[in-house]
């Protein structure tokens, strides 16, 4: 139980996926213009990631590992995640139109989201069992949500500030990210992680 809590805190704060591991920077910068789209994107990430991590864990441990096909993992993971995203997209469109209306535009972006594939690889690297990998995924995706909400709140204020023309847009967002990441460095060493 204690180790599960540590895995969660490590993925959520200490090794925050965006600010410490630099995964998922494209959607982080691309959809953080307003708080609404930031929350929509993060919820879509949580939803898709929980599914994709379980599926890739099962495929890796019950198919690739016993059959000695580990070298195919990059190709298999990309294809499986791509197919899964397509499936979720169609399923939501048909059965949950209300949910599709709010999350629909973010779902196709998931196929090339490096957080999803990155988490699948990290779970293999860390040798997690199924429960641990679910807790890890939850930590990673909530960490993404935290970073998303923080950046979008700051950006709504930056929009009205007077910034040198060369630094408008992405550069100032990166400077913000740098300061946030500096703050997150303070979490390292928490619980000996």
């Amino acid at each position: 139980m204690q180790s599960l809590f540590l895995i969660f805190i490590s993925a959520f704060l200490v090794n925050n996926i965006v600010l410490m591991r630099f995964l998922g920077l494209c959607p982080w910068l691309g959809t953080s213009n307003s708080l609404g789209s930031a929350i929509g994107m993060s919820v879509a990430v949580i939803f898709v990631m929980l599914l994709s991590s379980s599926v890739t864990w099962i495929i890796y441990n019950f198919l690739l590992l016993p059959m000695g096909l580990v070298y195919l993992r990059t190709m298999v993971f990309v294809l499986v995640i791509g197919a899964l995203v397509q499936f979720i997209d169609l399923f939501l469109k048909k059965n949950r139109p209300a949910l599709y209306k709010s999350l629909g535009i973010y779902i196709p972006l998931m196929a090339t989201n490096c957080i999803i594939l990155g988490a699948a690889f990290l779970i293999i690297d860390y040798n997690y069992n199924f429960i641990q990998s679910i807790v890890f995924t939850l930590g990673v995706s909530l960490g993404f949500m935290l970073a998303m909400i923080m950046l979008s709140s700051v950006r709504e204020r930056i929009d009205t500030a007077d910034i040198p023309p060369s630094l408008r847009g992405a550069p100032i967002a990166f400077i913000t990210a740098s300061l946030m990441s500096l703050a997150f460095l303070g979490f390292s060493g928490l619980f000996g992680l």
Binding site: R21, F22, D125
Partner: protein, 205 residues
Amino acid sequence: MIARRINVWKHFSDGVTTNNPVLVLMLGLCSVIAVSTNALSALGMGIAFTFVMVCSNVLISVVRNVTPDTIRIPVFIIIISTFVTITDYVLQAFMPVIHSQLGIFLPLIAINCIVFGRAESFASKNKPVASLFDGLGIGIGFTIVIFLMGAIREILGNGTICGKMVLGKAFAASPIAFMILPPGGFLVIAFLIGMKNWLSNKGEK
């Protein structure tokens, strides 16, 4: 013949300058910031990326006429991840140190938006030779930026470049350590993009 040569050169130089994947299109930023903690591993990432970019561009361009339009994305995925797997295993066998520094960012080349973008917008519409030079230009443009970032961060954060001391003993004893840590990566890319914006604004005036 001369016209063709100019054309090929243009494909190449566009990738390095006006179409630079990192500074202009702002794609593939994750790996640029993550593995640029020192100049050598940044160079390793640049070379691995260029290899995947060139090979997949050429192969996609060779098979472009026999690939039905509806299944082109899965075909791209299979071709690109094949070359990523080859690079992964070759690096693991011959350069284990660089391989461990690149970590999961090596397999993540497989879904890099730059590689996909060029496959979709260039290689699937052009001849193999043009695709080769396009891939080479994009790859070298990426390598220059990532190496520059690695060098800046290593000099400021460690006082060395490729392991050699450059700023003297006094600086190396107390360097700006945060440049090697994650915040430094965000700061350096912010100022590199800002500098490129400043230069292009100045050029327009």
